[in-house]
């Protein structure tokens, strides 16, 4: 549900300033011509369908669909677990992705390329393929269950696939590059002299990281977190493949309403709610970002 325009939200004021500068550089006519194709594409491919969708949810000017949504605890439960899963996936991607990004930024060029390839090649592989890979790994007679049983850790195959845990693991795997890349690009621009200066001034390796490198990498952490969180809120393919009926998320619920039950007005209402929730979170993230003083000037 979340279109590309939200995904690109976390721009720093610095970037905004440079856009303003180039707008001054080009004449008004040229600016309009340059922007026109994108504006037209967005209008046809995004604004129009979203407007139609929102309109559809208020069919006949009634709030009937929303009343249904609120009245049935199942739907609110799905919304809550969607936010919860997105939150856990974001935190997990951050905890697993930061060290990778740090490694990529600090290693010598050759080895860094290998690590980068490990990040990029999955990113270039279809989400469908990666999600099916998790099905193969986690299924009843899959690799994980076989290994666990052979090692004597479990007696028989456990139910791994079609659980919320499986959804979280697979989504973390799929979305991690979106966390790693912004953090990496921020760390990459930090001169090594900052760390050296901190060490020289009496900070041990750990304190130098906590008091200098980490705060200076926060813009990348925020950008990556917003990307991950927003993508996770509207993620469809992976939850649809590795998640079961008990671990349904908003996107799969909407898919079910449109393709199985053919209840388009209700699907539209669900979509509108998801869109609104997404926008609220993006707004909150940006507020937090602007509160962290002094970070804007860092690049």
């Amino acid at each position: 549900m979340s279109g590309p325009s939200e995904v690109l939200q976390p721009t720093s004021p610095h970037q905004r300033r440079s856009t303003a500068a180039s707008a001054r550089f080009y004449s008004r006519g040229v600016s309009v011509c340059l922007a026109a194709p994108l504006v037209v594409a967005l209008a046809i491919g995004f604004v129009y369908p979203v407007t139609r969708l929102v309109g559809l949810s208020f069919e006949g000017g009634s709030l009937e669909q929303y009343r249904r949504l609120v009245a049935e605890p199942l739907y609110l439960g799905v919304l809550a677990s969607t936010v919860k899963v997105a939150f856990i996936v974001t935190i997990a991607s951050l905890l697993l992705g930061f060290p990778v990004a740090y490694l990529m930024a600090r290693l010598r060029h050759g080895i860094a390329m290998v690590v980068a390839a490990c990040v990029f090649i999955p990113l270039w592989t279809s989400v469908l393929v990666r999600s099916y890979a998790w099905v193969v790994l986690l299924q009843r007679n899959g690799i994980v269950n076989t290994l666990l049983a052979d090692a004597g850790i479990t007696d028989g195959p456990m139910k791994l696939i079609y659980t919320q845990g499986a959804v979280i693991v697979a989504m973390t795997h799929v979305l991690m590059p979106f966390m790693i890349l912004p953090i990496y690009s921020t760390l990459r621009t930090l001169p090594p002299d900052y760390n050296r200066a901190a060490r020289n001034l009496g900070a041990g390796a750990f304190r130098a990281f906590i008091s200098i490198t980490l705060p200076l990498s926060l813009p990348g952490v925020f950008a990556g977190s917003v990307l991950c969180f927003v993508l996770a809120l509207g993620f469809y393919i992976t939850p649809a493949l590795v998640g079961g009926p008990g671990s349904m998320l908003m996107a799969t619920l909407i898919g079910q309403q449109t393709t199985v039950l053919l209840d388009w007005p209700f699907a539209a209402a669900l979509s509108t709610v998801l869109l609104t929730v997404t926008l609220i979170f993006v707004f909150l993230f940006r507020k937090t970002l602007s509160l962290s003083k002094g970070l804007h000037s860092v690049h």
Partner: protein, 370 residues
Amino acid sequence: MIGQYLSLVGLEKHFGSVRAVTSLSLEIGAGEFVSLVGPSGSGKTTALNMIAGFEGPSAGKIVIGGRDVTHVAPNRRGIGMVFQKYALFPHLTVRQNIAFPLRMRRQSNKTRIATRVGEMLELVQLSSYGERYPQQLSGGQQQRVALARALAFEPPVLLMDEPLGALDKKLREAMQFEIKRLQERLGATVVYVTHDQDEALTMSDRVAVMAGGELKQFGTPTELYRYPNSAFVADFIGRMNFIEGNCVENAGGTAVVRLSDDTVLSIRAQGLPATAMAGQTIKLAIRPERVRVARRGEGGSGCLAAVVQTCVFVGSVHILVVRLESRPDVLLQIQLPAEGGLPFQERDTVDLLLDDGAIHLFANTERHAA
């Protein structure tokens, strides 16, 4: 006085098969200002990184005030350092930047830190800038904050890595005196890395000239300027004219050098090793301000005939470029005082008098700085 002595003993650093620094030994006294100069790739920055602890030496010892710190982590050496691009933390204010080293040393309490930061800001005359962020300051102000931060914890040794490289010429000269004033007032031991030999001569008590990872000469600015021990140092420190010649005789403290078939000079063999034997090519070196010029025929005996190629006025002096008549391949630069106007013009024929005491002789075995 906060400074302590620093001694480097046979310091080596190899990167694979590349020898970045070879057997570097320096004794630097407490409160002394020493510059490391040399062209890029001479090993001066590597030497500095080893003193700071960012690079471990392949061999050798680093001792500060009697304490062997060769294998001590950089944060436990207590050395101050000013980085080339200052490396001020952009997410901290000026005050927080200066307080950083004090906070890292746990013994200081909050009020003592605040007092100390106030003192340091006053010392570098930035008292009203404490709450600003580094990027809100000019280059010169950032430089002074970096200095205050590095000096806040009274380090026994202060390292500076081309700290003025990013500033324009006027500001650089002002900062040279500023740094010198602070260093003398605090009695700090300073190791200053620069590729600018003028800067090194202006500021230092002693200068270490490095090339190809080796220490070429270590002495006071006057010693290096007047008595360079190699053609490299002679060329690197100040301006120097070189003329290649043939050694005819080298005995009894006098060398006879043939410049061309009809030009033979007899020179006091200052600096020429006795191993330079007759028949070898050697180098004559003379400073531009030590060559005397007269009109043709007025130079007296033992002078060299030359033709003026170019005259340039550079403010404080005139610079003449002349070509020797007997050796058309040799161009010499000559400096003359600027007052009173220049009595020569292009294509004038002149006589050059090379002051016997001003000529240095070097065996022609080494290459000199480009």
